[in-house]
Amino acid sequence: MKTLRRAMAEFHTWTGLLLGWLMFAMFTTGTSAYFLHEITRWMEPEVVDVASSPSDAANRAVAYLERNAPQAASWFITLPDERRVRTEVRWRSGERGVPQEVRVLDGGGEEVGARETKGGYFLYRFHFDLHFIPALWARFLVGIAAMFMLVSLISGVLTHRAIFTRFFSLSWGKGVTSWFDAHNMTAVFALPFFLMITYTGLVTLAYLYMPFGGMANFTDGGYFALAYPRPPTTEAAGEAASMAEIGAMVSDAQAIWGGVPPETLDIRHPGDRNAVVHARRSRAGSIGTRMPTLSFSGVTGEPVGEVVRPYHGPLQAESVLVGLHAGRFASVGLRWLYFLSGVLGMAMIGTGLVQWTARRRRRLASDGRRHVGFWIVERLNVVTIAGLGAGLGGYFLANRLLPLELPKRAEWEVHSLFIVWAAVGVWALVRPARRAWPETLALASAIYAAVPVANAFTTDRGLASSLASGDGVFVAFDVMMLLLGGAYGVAALVSSRSARSKVSIRARGQRPAAELPSAAEAS
């Protein structure tokens, strides 16, 4: 047992470290995705909340598309729900290579000149597609990181006898012990969540990682045809016909699905005698994510067929596991519990990474040499923990500060995230680590604190007015920015204090002078 525990400890140290920085980035952006739609709402302040029923919204969207895209080969409508206040319409001309047109409508069906932004969706995509590298590579990389995470969790549980004896223990200002307690606590308190989220995360991309069963048992595309059946495709008749009222189809679908409305409407050949409307059921309210699609004749408004995901045990299990991961079913309260667990995950990974350096600092320092590995880990910790934090703040700040008419504005918001992140990276490389921590954490704090200020100055939906109008999403977002600013600020103060106390120990000659590059510069 003792050897097993020791082996697991070693294993945990290295599996946790090797891709820990990537895991931290995945956890951070993935956690933000629990409020994907709310973040998008904040990032599109022009879209105001006008309540409308799904069928009204559908009617207005079709009226808009009839006016603005009568010749399109297909229309795609995403209906508003409790969390999304906007109707999104897309259309395609039918020619290859012509990108879709996308417009945002408010509850009244009027086009909103919303600023160009990728909103919360970018952060959601980043947590498994990353950025700057092909999505396929990213997904493999993310899969490897998730697998490392899973074995780190299991080996961590096997390693730490202290899980129960030190339960609830926190110690302050005791170096390694403090980091160990914080790591242990954050890991244990949401352990079921971490195991679930890591395992189900792998399940979402399981077919990419393990396609062999499907390859062995199905010929080309047979697996996907079975697992993800689509409504049959239809050809246009080439004969104009007037469309039946789409709102009635939405109400019919809602009645058939026991009150659950459609989330999307896919309208093929609008205005043609063969027009078809495919309505996909909303995922709200059920854990599983694979939803049926009900098809209507666009001209008569009668249902012409329903495509139901087949009730195969494994597919149902997959659907529920993916649903557990994404948490789309969750009520607001449960969503916050998910979010809190995600934040604990960030803390667990962050404290684990810092603990690696804390454990080695004294031991390595005593032999007077420079250790490249230590240096790299120390810097990457600053880059990841302070840098990504600052970068995300920069993303939100850019949303408010970039000129509205800037070409490729949405891309520039994303670039802002990486520019800030890279700037922190450079800073972390050129400064001694003990200085880099407080400085970059203070920068992140200042950026977050600036977000609500920029919001108040550039929109009429600042914290004061959203408090007055009872706009929960905007209040929560601004308050969250202030909390993050405060948290990074406290972290900056604590790290600068500990840097100073270590310098004073060294100044008294209790440490070898040649310890680390930071020693000479700091004293």
Partner: protein, 93 residues
Amino acid sequence: MTGAALALCVAGFMGLCASMKRHQPSFLGRRLGAGASMALRIAGFFTLGAALVIDLLAAPVGQGAIYWCGHLTVGAILTVFALEVRKRASAKR
């Protein structure tokens, strides 16, 4: 009802915390005997189990265990806060 489950999780973890020899001096201000500690431990686990029952009954169908895990997390965090507050208070005295 989820509020009740959360309250039980907080109470359950506080019971477990009070049952631990390590935390008794700072959390309770004194040490308890083995019997009292064991009673607190059993009561703590029982209370956490009661919270699961309430969550299973009150949460939307199929989501009870998910709520319970979330409530456990919050309950444990609040217990640590309470313990820290007690530690600081006793350090001042």
